[in-house]
Amino acid sequence: MKLSYKWLSKYLELDLEPKDLAEKIERTAVEVDSVTRLDYKLKKIVVGHTLEVTEHPDSDHLHICQVDVGEEEPIQIVCGAPNIAADQDVIVALHGSRIKDNVKIKRSKMRGVPSNGMICALQEIGYPDNVVPKDYADGIYVFPADSHVKPGDSVMEALGMDDDVIDTSVTPNRGDMFSMNGNAHEIAAILDQKANFEVLKVQDEQKSADTLADQIKVEIDEQDVAPVYKLMAIENVKIAPSPFWLQTTLMKAGIRPINNVVDVTNYIMLKYGQPLHAYDLDQLKGQTISVAPAGENVKFTTLDDEKRDLRPEDLVITADGTPIAMAGVMGGMATEVSDQTQNIVIEAAIFDPIKIRKTARYHNLHSEAAMRFERGIDYSSLDDALNEAASLVADFSQGKVMSGVVVGNDTKLNPESITIALARINKILGTSLTSEEVVAIFDRLGFSTELDATKQTFKVTVPVRRWDIHIEADLLEEVARIFGYDNLPVTLPTGDPTIGQLTTEQKLMRASRTVMEGLGLTQAMSYGLTTIAKSQQFVKGDHELVKVDWPMTKDREALRMNLISGLLDDIAYNKARSVENVALYEQGRVFYGNGQAQPEEIEHIAGAITGSMQAKSWNEKEKPVTFFDVKGIVEQYLKNVAVAGEVSYVADHDRQGMHPGRTADVLLDGDVIGFIGQIHPTTAEEFKIKETYVFELNLTKIIHAEKKLQHYDVISKYPAITRDIAILVNKEVSNTEVLNVINETKQKNLIKVELFDVYEGKNLEKGMKSLAYQFTYQDTNDTLQEDAINDEFSKVIKNLEEKLNVTVR
């Protein structure tokens, strides 16, 4: 809410800088968005009186004006505004002045005619478009007669711009801070002052003999929709602009002046926080007013001339069953106060906040009124607000207030009493306040207290205007903030010690990330929501897709079932920006629907690499990534996390999205825990990426898999002996098959078998390949004898020849 410092000064003795006041408000009550000085950097802008206005000879829209600016001689200004005329009081930016955005105005010639300044619109001195009165929206501003300005007067003073506006951001619980009165109460508590409140009542001479109840009835069936509903009326009004002071007040608060009725309702809303609505009484005469849900298929034209389809539950005000307003949100065209209106009726009500909120939200009508109804209204000041409104309207429009208030509902709220112990306050806040100090705080807030001296408890009575306070914790907050958060001690929790330790799962997840980074992959974080197609890509098995109910876009419709598609999006993003070498990994969850309310959430770890593993440099060639790089990463990773079971890689020819000849499932003791391979060229094309290799592992399975214990193997001090063998074998025979035969052969001293060459092609029979292995033999207790090794080695060769039909080369 925009708080005028000058307006606040009517309630309180403010002897501190506005920014210091704002700081106090911020530290004690609600957030402050900004503190603005309205005349910030404005200079040499004065009231001018147009003495003579003539057409510019060389222009079809410019005027030459002789303007009295309070100096000895009038000055000549060329002005292009359509509404310029003689005998107006206008805003003049003199030579050397500064207007909005620090723009400097200088003497100049306009189409050959000297101009000694500029006649300004309100927008040109800093007012936003949406507060400028409609009459002056497209032209210069003209001061009304009741502004009593004289040529040469400071415009900033005349318009009340020599003021600071503190713009607060009110939290949902502090609806009371949406009124000047509420702010005055709050600031009085902050500054430990008593605020002066002024309430205007309808005077006897303002009253007419006519009774409103004769003309209109209110019947509300459902009490809850409008706990309070009251009407007052003013007859024989003359609709006109409201007084100058009221217009400038509203503009400072960010509200556009309309006329002497609407402006009063807005003014009262600012002052009391009570939204009011004014209807043309003649449209409603003899009818019964009610408040009820709209019901089915109701169309309604609001006063912004929008025809709206109401939801059945939207609350409407009806007259003999016909909607005349969307309750608390916006009035209707048909009963709007117009220039011709003669009699008006003012509605002061309290509506169900939840219903108002939902209506405002659904129709996107977050009006000032709706905003206040949503957060609550002060039951205790509604009557004053309505009365003051009637009095002001009568005053400004020369009307008479009809006698009687027509009441549809009048629920009363009683102040709540809450008991709280001094010990409790100090225990929770960590303070050592005395009961006198606590009483003083409640006193500042205007809460009365009864101290039970023996029990050291307070019975605190909270006025109705603070409807956010119901429980002990609410009072604790009041004490804490008035005492000052700055004054709270700075301590750390004591009490029984606890051990801060990551769980085994968390440790493994952290370790997984560290390993991946060590292997050259950078961590990515991609979106969990994706397209249906991408969610299901690369996934084998029958998993149920989980979708959000009301997706914002097709791109974010489904929960991911794999991490790779997100990583491929990342690679595509990089490629589109000419980053060709990308090596990313991601650790995160995938979601499998399982018929339960919540899907299964499984931790995965995945990687995607494209381009070169080794960046090209002056001394190194590029090293384009291959299947075996990705496999190497997975092998190293599984070694590091020390899964105890047997890891194997089985060719997978039919995983959708993957290269049928370059994809393998990763198995742990026969159970698939993930896969590695190349993205299918067609899929890569769809993603607009180049050759890319990926892996994705089920981290949850790895976390729960049995792990090897860390242990020490004695390092033999005896020499190792190696034997090399190259075998010619059918191309279809896999390395694993060869290794299986080698490992099946009992060999006491064999400690390692390493494949060191694979060859196909020239000089070899078609359909055959050559594999070369190095065998390493070592004994921990003795130097090995050649003979023993030769025996073991020849056994292997024999088995290979028999079982795989190999030829030793």
Binding site: G500, T522, L584
Partner: protein, 348 residues
Amino acid sequence: MSLQEKLKELEEKGLQEISVANELSKLNEVRVNFLGKKGPITEVLRGMRDLSKEERPKVGEFANKVRDNLTSKLEERKEELAQAALNKKLAEEAVDVTLPGTPMKQGQPHVIQQIIDNLEDLFLGMGYQVVEGPEVELDRYNFEMLNLPKDHPARDMQDTFYITDEVLMRSQTSPVQARTMEKHDFSKGPLKMISPGVVYRRDTDDATHSHQFHQIEGLVIDKNITMGDLKGTLVTLAKELFGDRFEVRLRPSYFPFTEPSVEADVTCFNCMGKGCSVCKSTGWIEVLGAGMVHPNVLKMAGVDTDVYGGFAFGLGPDRFAMLRYGVDDIRNFYLNDVRFLSQFNKRG
């Protein structure tokens, strides 16, 4: 010419040749020429047969001296030549040390992960546990148990992705706290936890909004927890994130799950409190929300509010990273441009 004179002459000649030999092969030639079996010294010694018994040992001794001298000079010279050859080789091997080193492949943790790890470590050190929970949550834990019944206005503050009426993408990590509180056995000691993780909200992605971001929330429940303890914890947290030079300011705020509720600001690190565009001239930057746990929240989790109470706090690593590193677009965190990710490579 006596034998000794001959030997003397040979020695001088030999020494002369050694000193001018500038290659190992030349030196070897000198050795063979002078000391070899067919060399002149051997030749001279053959003439000893003609000498008297008395003279023979003297000449012999002299001859040995000459041979030893030549041998040692040969060795010395050989050493010199070897050293010179090595020096030459080393000189040839010299590199331009200003050429760049070979690029090593090293991945980086994501900047958000770095912040999360950093805070996890801080709180682990203070005896907190790190607790994770489901990203697809029940309305009950995400809202209701946090004192946000259906129709609560604060639900509008965070527009949520629903999957069904009762199931949603969690809009905060606080449901993890509700779940943990509900399960915790307070007879076994206090509950001190943080819950980091991904959250989702129905926001259109732009420079400052993301439908996916991260949160870290903390919760402490024990018998004698004060608001001073909360303040101390927030000060510790802010100092860890920003450094010791920064001040912390608490302001009243509103969250349905805490009462009193506060927001914590730290001195703007861009202007150190003087006021700038980063802090919108306030000198302060809002970094987290916190408060004393609302009694309704405790009651709904089955905690006895007469005995136990505590505090909760939450912050957004994304927002923090944006502020701290001047990241101008939140989408950078989820688009994974390698040029972005690799900038955050400072360790330790």
